[in-house]
């Protein structure tokens, strides 16, 4: 029983990272209809900012997260305004290709700047945790989960309670109608992408504390973001939160299969995604649009 509880806790804690990674990806996909293949690269930019601030200035990594968010927001805003806005009316697949090119550029510029060494952020409290009998809850994972939930809540607040958020929602509902009522589409699109990138940056800061990063370390996260967003359902922040936590649980239980079972964790996750798509395309929690 304690094992089971521990596994659930571990899955939820790991899910925090997936929530953080998925929430920005889902926003950009759901609202702008852009599948951002450079999402993982944006995540890793955030990771390197946190690493740089931690290793050079000894700033606590959790305090660097706002810097990640602001820097990536600006970057994402400019990326959308300068490049991606130019192909919004092209067929759907073009966003795949454009962001694939952007991904190649970002990853290799990171390689030029930081080299290929594995970088990792290890604060003094890394590896420590709360012990409840046999159950251990590591601080870093716990804080990461809290940050991911707070990030999602902040995003939901922006989307539902602010002027720009209402504009973004209007775009998601009907782009042309939104333009008719006077919404500056170029700006609103760029803000949306910027918000998605900011979430990616925060996720990257968290990831730098959990694993060692290299310029190519973001690519698996792009794939995982697909699964997280589909599991939860496109179009709502809360759905992505559920999707991320569900993905963490699936992974933890997949890994706990005895013997060689855990090598199938990926196959199980992607198979589950396909199953959800085929049987319930709106996701576990989502609504059809």
């Amino acid at each position: 029983m304690a094992d089971f509880v521990q596994l659930v806790i571990l899955g939820l804690l790991a899910g925090g990272i997936y929530v953080a990674v998925g929430v920005g990806f889902g926003l950009v996909w759901g609202v702008l209809n852009i599948v951002n293949l450079s999402h993982g690269a944006l995540v890793i930019i955030g990771g390197y900012i946190t690493w740089q601030l931690f290793s050079a200035l000894h700033i606590d990594p959790f305090l660097t997260l706002p810097v990640d968010a602001v820097a990536l927001f600006v970057f994402g805003y400019l990326l959308q305004r300068g490049l991606i806005n130019r192909i919004i009316r092209a067929p759907l697949l073009f966003t795949f290709l454009l962001t694939f090119g952007v991904n190649l550029v970002i990853v290799n510029i990171l390689l030029l700047i930081f080299g290929s060494d594995f970088r990792s952020v290890t604060p003094s409290y890394s590896g420590q945790g709360i012990e409840l009998g046999p159950i251990v809850i590591p601080y870093v994972s716990l804080f990461s989960l809290a940050v991911a939930i707070a990030l999602s809540a902040a995003l939901a607040f922006i989307l539902n309670r602010t002027r720009i958020g209402l504009a973004i929602n209007a775009i998601a509902a009907d782009r042309d109608a939104a333009q008719l009522v006077g919404i500056d589409l170029r700006h609103a699109y760029a803000v949306t992408f910027g918000l998605g990138a900011a979430c990616a940056g925060v996720a990257g800061g968290l990831i730098a504390m959990i694993q060692a990063i290299t310029p190519t370390a973001g690519e698996p996260y792009t794939l995982q973001a697909f699964v997280v967003v589909i599991l939860g359902g496109l179009g709502r922040v809360s759905a992505t939160v559920v999707g991320g936590l569900a993905f963490g649980l699936v992974e933890a239980f997949g890994q706990s299969i005895p013997g060689s079972g855990s090598v199938f964790a990926n196959a199980i996750a992607f198979g589950l995604m396909v199953l959800v798509l085929v049987t319930r395309p709106q996701g576990l929690l989502g609504r059809l649009r």
Binding site: L7, N108, F118, T122, G127, P138, Q211, A212, E219, S262
Partner: protein, 422 residues
Amino acid sequence: MITRHQLTRLIRGFEMRKWALLAVAALAVVACGTSSSSGPTTGSTITLGAPLGLTGSLTKESTLTKQGYDLWLDWINAKGGIVVNNVKHPVTIKYYDDTSNANQSAVLMQKLITEDKANFLLGPYGSAATATDAAIAEQNAIPMVEANGAAQSIFNQGYKYTFGVLSPANKYLQGVIDLALTLTPRPASVAMLSADDNFSLEVANAVVAYATTKGMSVAVFKKYKNGTTNLTAEVQAAKAVNPDIVLNSGHLQEAIAINKAAKEQKLNAKLFAYSVGPSTPDFIAALGKDANFVFDGSQWTPQVKYTPAFYLTVAQYVAAYKAKYPGLGDPDYHVAESTAACLALERAIENAGSLDPKKVRDALAGLDVTVFFGQVKFDARGINIYKPMVVEQIQDGVHHTVYPQDIADAKPMYPTPAWDQR
């Protein structure tokens, strides 16, 4: 509307342009198809070549490989080159970026052979690229000496032109078991965690079999997806059986993940040993104090004591590395084994007394020489089963060689203290 006259002129102009364009295209095509022929080989430069992942996911390891090749290149050219029948041949190494993609590695191998007229080949990084390139070397009958593909499956294909200077995968963690048998209190149970790539699985299967023959019990054997960054559930499974030894067979990323999870989950084994990872400075940088007490099986360490027949001693090698690559610390074993591949090739060319690929291949097959890296000698399949692996331990943030005893520079720190008592 244009006149008929203008139209004729336009067409005529176009015809001229068309023929000019065709001529240019034809020239370009001929330039593409033909290849430049190389001059006579005696006294000429020896060209070696290697495709490496200078971008993409294997950049770190490929960079270390290139450092190893380049260290030797500087040394041999400072001497004037490889001596073949009293003629000195300077050496160049051509590198290409295979973007960490095995299929592209094969293209570039062929480019090296066909276009660059590479006399001999050095290996790429990684087992997949090495397997693909071994088939290319075989079909072109050009020897390839490689230092970074330890999976034995490559060498079980009957290929005649591929030679690996490194100890095969099945040896990686055996030394740790041998070491463990000398320790008190003697460890009795093993938890084995392994990534699912071919190299890691060969390492894991071999050490599990070996530990069993030495009377240890393998309490749990778990495989995980190569590249997994969160291995907490695996560590949980190990903790559940309370093992004396925790072995991991994977790569740097997974070794860091296992160690982090072991601390978080208070997995207190007497001995932690990982195949690849702890030997790199990145491991210590990533984990700080928590890297201490970790053992690893290593192809080579800066403390080994071999008496080289030629080239540098171990101490000179370490000094040469630090002079060429300041700020990177001691050379990692990936660097050393890559240099050793060059040395094997150099000595085989000298022994063959020829640049003929077939003769050099035969010389490689008969090679038996000890260098700073250890004994280099190939079995019938072409892999070096004669050099022992060594066991390292990180003690107070520094790598020390702890096994075999005759080359050790420190005693193993054992048993590993519990996480909350460090």
